[in-house]
Every structure is written in structure tokens, then in C-alpha cells.
């Protein structure tokens, strides 16, 4: 009976250790997953100069196209 109890206790302890191990592993995983999150600080408002210029150029081109389209049907417009 005492042996069975010992065995049972030992098993419980092992299981408990295993559980702890698992928990530790999970926690480690969280930490590992958490790291990049911590490194990714909220980005400062900092736009690439090139991106802004590209966007502005795209707008300028779009506006030229709109103007051209608008001018087509009324080539003899009195605006000019």
C-alpha cells in the first residue's frame, strides 16, 4: 500500500514537473513571441521622402489626366 502510495506520489510529482515544464515552455514561447512585439515600438510619424514624392507625383499625373479629359469635349471652351 505504502509502495503504491509512493508510486502514486512519484507519478503525481512527475506529472506536476511535466506540467511545470510545459508551462515554462509556453511561457518561454510567449516571451519569444513577445520579443518582436516589444521591439516593434509604435512607429513614429515618419514617411519616406520618396514615398511622399511618388504619391504627390501620382496625384499630379492624375490631375493632368482629369484636366485633359475635361478639356476634350469642350476644346473650344472659353475658359482659356
Amino acid at each position: 500500500m505504502a509502495d503504491r502510495h509512493k508510486f502514486s506520489m512519484a507519478k503525481k510529482l512527475t506529472e506536476s514537473k511535466d506540467e511545470n515544464k510545459e508551462i515554462t515552455t509556453v511561457q518561454k514561447k510567449k516571451t519569444v513571441r513577445g520579443k518582436p512585439l516589444r521591439q516593434n515600438k509604435p512607429m513614429k510619424k515618419q514617411r519616406s521622402k520618396k514615398l511622399v514624392l511618388d504619391r504627390l507625383t501620382a496625384i499630379a499625373i492624375k490631375m493632368r489626366e482629369i484636366r485633359k479629359k475635361a478639356a476634350q469635349p469642350q476644346a473650344t471652351s472659353t475658359t482659356n
Binding site: 510619424k45 514617411r47 521622402k49 511622399v52 514624392l53 504619391r55 504627390l56 507625383t57 496625384i59 499630379a60 499625373i61 492624375k62 490631375m63 493632368r64 482629369i66 484636366r67 475635361a70 471652351s77 475658359t79 482659356n80
Partner: protein, 165 residues
């Protein structure tokens, strides 16, 4: 800002693009075609935003050059960090307008207003460009916000487009 050169155009009756183009070319000595002048006209509000605090400092000078660059780029004039002749003309034209703001502002906004009545689709783009320049610093200053509202009112652009609150 000085108020010399072409005189106060708010007192001069300029309501057509061709008249404004002609007067502006003569005064600024800028060689822009009418099409290129239209580009300048539609991006004029961006210049007003950059110069919102009444002066163009070193950093804002760079912004003005940006305006000149992307306007030239829209004509396929990009030369990888080298100024194209068109960019130089746009730059010259923008600094002239800045120096002579009081003389030309009313006329430019009036002609642009009339032009936008014909092509209202451009309003959204003008709003976006103004916002991009105002937003290029850490926050939109009170001066910039005031200029945007002023221009929006004059051009009949829905202020809601700017989300200025």
C-alpha cells in the same frame, strides 16, 4: 513678404487662365506653357500651406522644391536627383509667388476657383495635397489649419475632406 513687382492683382481684373498666365509669365519671367501653368495653378494652395506661418524657412524651402519636383515629375522630367529645366522653372515660379504672395494670391485663388467650377473632380486632389504638406511636420499647426480653411472656403472645397475638426 514684399508687395512689389506686379502690383496688387486683387485690384486688377484677371478672371481667365490665359490672362493670368500671360501676366504671371511676364512678371515672373517663368517660361511655362499654359498646360504647365495649370499645374502650377492647381498646386498653388500647397504653396500657401507651406508658407502658412508667413515665411519659408530652410526646411520649408525644401518642401517648395518638392512641389517643383513632383510637378516636373508629372511631365516625365525626373532626372534622379538632378533638377530638370522644368523643375527649375517651377521652382522659380513658386518662389516668385511666395515673394509676391499678396500681389497674386487673390487672382490665383479666383481663377482657380472658377476653374474648379468646371472641373470639381480636382478639388479632392487639391485637398489631399494640402493635407500632405500640412501633415509633413509633426502636427498640423494652427496657421496651417487656418490657411487650409481659408483656401477651402475660397475654392468651395468641403472642409470635411480635411478632417480638421
Amino acid at each position: 513678404m514684399s508687395n512689389t513687382g506686379a502690383g496688387n492683382l486683387s485690384e486688377i481684373d484677371i478672371h481667365s487662365i490665359s490672362s493670368l498666365h500671360e501676366a504671371y509669365s511676364e512678371a515672373s519671367e517663368c517660361e511655362l506653357t499654359q498646360e504647365q501653368f495649370l499645374t502650377l495653378l492647381t498646386f498653388y494652395p500647397a504653396l500657401l500651406v507651406v508658407a502658412a506661418d508667413g515665411e519659408i524657412d530652410k526646411e520649408e524651402r525644401v518642401y517648395v522644391k518638392h512641389i517643383a519636383r513632383f510637378m516636373a515629375n508629372s511631365y516625365g522630367e525626373s532626372r534622379n536627383y538632378q533638377e530638370s529645366p522644368l523643375e527649375v522653372q517651377f521652382c522659380k515660379g513658386l518662389f516668385f509667388l511666395y515673394e509676391q504672395e499678396y500681389a497674386w494670391k487673390t487672382a490665383f485663388l479666383q481663377v482657380l476657383h472658377d476653374y474648379l467650377q468646371e472641373i470639381p473632380l480636382l478639388k479632392e486632389n487639391i485637398a489631399e495635397v494640402m493635407l500632405m504638406f500640412a501633415d509633413s511636420s509633426e502636427y498640423i499647426s494652427e496657421d496651417e489649419s487656418e490657411v487650409i480653411k481659408y483656401v477651402a472656403t475660397h475654392l468651395e472645397i468641403d472642409v470635411a475632406l480635411f478632417e480638421l475638426g
